[in-house]
């Protein structure tokens, strides 16, 4: 039974590798092989390569200083953080939110078997994260310090212990998220806030990590002594990698016991949490005076409601709403210094700071792509706009208006900041203000065009249209591509005509494309939308 459940869950996790949701059919063998190779390349070459480089950087110095245990403590710590925090939301969704909870609970399957299957799935996902960090770390250590039987045995134990610690922490965090989310009222906004804090913390740590690691390596002995004295457990943890059987046995026993406790607790609380429908406080309806809206106003209000109702939608397609004002403020505070540094660094390209400020603002605007998944997000409710007496063009315009409002208004302020600080001629300043606004229009219209051309309507989880659809991928990467070309072309040849004419040319080009696509949306696009 357990095997069947685990197999089913793994099939769900890797479903997209075997099944093409858009075409509603299985992928060809070639496509499956391609997707698997792509996955392996990402995991092994990109992520694995990154951590192999880090291991190579740290291993020799620390092991030669007799601080091999600190090397394993650091790498193990990174693996645990990546594994536990990387899979906390997956754990929450995988343990408590699967749509088949009701079905499985109604079948003659013991709850502990269901939870064991779910935990196995969580363990496998966590192990995937741990492997990209710890496997290179262990192998690098073996190669650099020589392979011995205790090191191999303890290295394997360390790997397993870390995967179990990740499982323990993921379950604990997943359980906490589940408990908290049952009590939350404005769940989508709080999720956005927490996620942004996590992102911020992650990037803060990421930018500080190099300094931190360099500092640890330089003062390894002093830190080592302090740690050994203050936190002997951490020292013992690191010792496992060096081939200490006693440390390995203690940690294996402790983590196994912790996992057993988690399994017992989850088995008992699973039924309550899995069958809970969230906060059950009934919102009592009180009749209020209604304010009538125009057709466009009603559609626009509906679109804003859709956007703000989903944390996924806001986080993945609306980061620019915060990023654009942040760039504006940054330009006001540090803009002049940055521009001076840029002008000094790139000689012979007059006013290049003006173009690059423009490019930075466009880049921030490209983080908003609400229009790309908006048609797909109609999903099974598509019958509503299609059956209402509204021109399809009005519906598409309302969808575009959301992005134009949420990107255009912050951009007005940010572009004004950019124009104010940039050391350039008056005409170039005007273009620094105008061009990002033109890009906002261009990006919204392109997103709408892609959304109508490549809709993904048969989804069961909104993550599919928001993150995984072709329209979104094209708009995000395509947008970045346009911006890179914009900057690169200026540095290569564009500077010859000057910054202001160069930005004017781009503004005209982007406006022309936007108008052409708008024309298409108002004619063939509306036909395409009503035929979906």
């Amino acid at each position: 039974m357990l095997r069947i459940l685990v197999k089913k869950q793994l099939a769900e996790v890797f479903k997209s590798y075997f099944y093409d949701a858009k075409k509603n059919r299985m992928r060809s063998k070639l496509a499956i092989a391609g997707w698997i190779v792509f996955f392996i390349l990402i995991m092994v070459c990109l992520l694995g390569g990154m951590f192999t480089a880090l291991s190579l950087n740290m291993c020799w110095g620390l092991s030669q200083a007799g601080l091999g245990w600190m090397y394993f403590l650091l790498m193990g710590g990174i693996a645990i953080i990546l594994g536990a925090f990387g899979s906390v939301f997956n754990t929450y969704a995988g343990l408590y939110l699967p749509k088949d909870n009701d079905l499985l609970l109604s079948l003659p399957i013991p709850v502990r078997t269901i939870i064991t299957a779910r935990l196995t799935n969580v363990w496998l996902m966590g192990t995937l994260y741990v492997s990209v960090v710890l496997l290179p770390a262990i192998i690098v250590y073996w190669i650099m310090t020589g392979i011995t039987a205790p090191k191999v045995i303890c290295g394997i134990i360390l790997y397993l212990v870390v995967t179990l610690i990740v499982l323990f922490l993921s379950c604990l965090l997943g359980w906490a998220v589940a408990k908290i989310s049952l009590r939350l009222k404005n769940r989508s906004f709080i999720t956005v806030l927490v996620s942004l804090m996590l992102f911020g913390g992650y990037y803060f740590f990421y930018f500080k990590a190099n300094d931190l690691i360099r500092d640890i390596i330089l003062n390894a002995e002093a830190y080592g002594e302090k740690l050994k004295g203050a936190a002997y457990g951490l020292y013992m943890f690191g010792r496992i990698g060096e081939g200490d059987f006693a440390a390995a046995a203690i940690f294996a026993a402790v983590t196994a016991a912790l996992c057993l406790i988690v399994w017992r607790i989850l088995s008992r609380s699973f039924l309550n949490i899995a069958t809970s429908t969230g906060k059950t406080e009934h919102v009592r309806y009180v009749e209020k005076t209604v304010r009538e809206k125009s057709v466009f106003g009603a559609l626009l209000s509906k679109e804003f409601g859709r956007f703000t109702s989903s944390a996924n939608y806001m986080l993945n397609c609306g980061l620019g709403v915060l990023l654009i004002p942040a760039v504006g403020v940054l330009l006001l505070i540090k803009g002049r210094v940055i521009c001076e540094a840029v002008e000094k660094a790139i000689l012979g390209r007059p006013d290049c700071a003006a173009v690059l400020v423009c490019v930075a603002l466009c880049m921030a605007a490209s983080m908003n792509d609400m229009t790309a998944p908006t048609v797909s997000l109609e999903g099974k409710s598509l019958w509503i706009p299609q059956s209402l007496p509204v021109e399809p063009g009005t519906i598409l315009h309302a969808k575009m208006a959301v992005q134009l409002i949420l990107t255009g208004i912050p951009m007005l302020l940010a572009a004004a900041c950019g124009a104010f600080i940039v050391p350039a001629s008056a005409v170039a300043k005007v273009m620094v203000f105008v061009m990002p606004l033109v890009y906002v229009l261009f990006s919204a219209v392109c997103g709408m065009f892609a959304g109508v051309r490549m809709p993904l309507l048969n989804w069961t989880n909104e993550i599919a249209p928001i993150k995984l659809s072709g329209a979104v991928a094209i708009i995000i990467y395509g947008g970045w591509g346009v911006i890179v070309i914009m900057a690169g072309l200026y540095l290569l040849i564009g500077y010859r005509i000057g910054a202001a004419p160069y930005m004017a040319c781009w503004s005209i080009l982007l406006t022309a494309i936007a108008l052409a696509l708008l024309r298409w949306l108002d004619t063939r696009g509306t036909e395409a939308f009503s035929s979906l």
């Binding site: 429908t277 209604v290 057709v295 409601g305 007496p389 509204v390 009503s530």
Partner: protein, 235 residues
């Protein structure tokens, strides 16, 4: 009211609807019967303008659905077989959204919402998000939204699925009242007893083709509708 002439719709090589013609007059409750996959939903979706068809013409109150879809949709209301409504809205917000689209004045819509929500015992739940509604509650909300703007024609796909007996009874009364006021109703159902008691006219579709159509007496004669239907299915 609703005139379907020589409607043909293909899905690839499969003919979902084949040269189907129907005429629904004001004051009629018209039942549409057929087995699963016979082409009922395809016909209904084509009639309300959410599915493009290959051949034929559909007119609503004299207006062609292909030429003037918005004008046609102003005269009709549609309730699909699965009421997938906007889950992110509350019930009242959804009703107000529909009312805004049909430009229903505030006082009129409030009176109607009050009336129908009370009838369906949904008033207390109007503040709840649609995502918290049961299937039956969503169906009730879809029915209320359909009746909000006094449509001339109401098209429904399996409207009784998920409704409790009291709500089903209420819906039948509302359907009759609507037709007594000169409106028309075109609906599909698998519940033959309901069709037999409720419908003025009935059409039976099999593999996309119309196999029988007429008043209830013409179609069933002295037999029950179930007997006639099963006999036709066996042919």
């Amino acid at each position: 009211m609703l005139k379907i002439e020589h409607l043909t719709k293909n899905y690839g090589e499969k003919k979902a609807v084949d040269d189907l013609s129907l005429h629904i007059l004001p004051g009629e409750i018209f039942g549409f019967i057929g087995h699963n996959g016979a082409g009922k939903s395809t016909t209904i979706k084509s009639a309300v303008g959410i599915l493009k068809f290959d051949e034929g013409t559909i007119t609503i109150c004299g207006k062609n659905i292909k030429d003037d879809p918005v004008a046609c949709k102003k005269d009709l209301a549609y309730i699909p077989d699965n009421p997938d409504l906007y889950e992110f809205m509350s019930g009242i917000k959804y009703l107000n959204f529909i009312a805004d689209i049909f430009a229903i004045p505030a006082d009129v819509r409030q009176e109607k919402i009050r009336k129908y929500a009370d009838l369906f015992e949904l008033t207390q739940d109007l503040g709840q998000p649609v995502s918290a509604y049961s299937h039956g509650m969503k169906q009730k909300l879809a029915v209320i939204s359909a009746w909000l703007h006094d449509p001339k024609l109401i098209v429904m796909d399996e409207p009784f699925v998920g409704l409790d007996p009291k709500a089903s009874h209420l819906l039948k009364e509302m359907m009759r009242e609507h037709c007594n006021k000169g409106g028309a109703i075109f609906f599909s159902t698998h519940v033959l007893e309901v069709a037999e008691k409720l419908c003025d006219k009935v059409a039976i579709i099999k593999q996309g083709k119309l196999v029988k159509e007429g008043t209830m007496e013409e179609v069933k004669g002295d037999d029950s509708l179930e007997e006639v239907f099963l006999e036709l299915e066996a042919e």
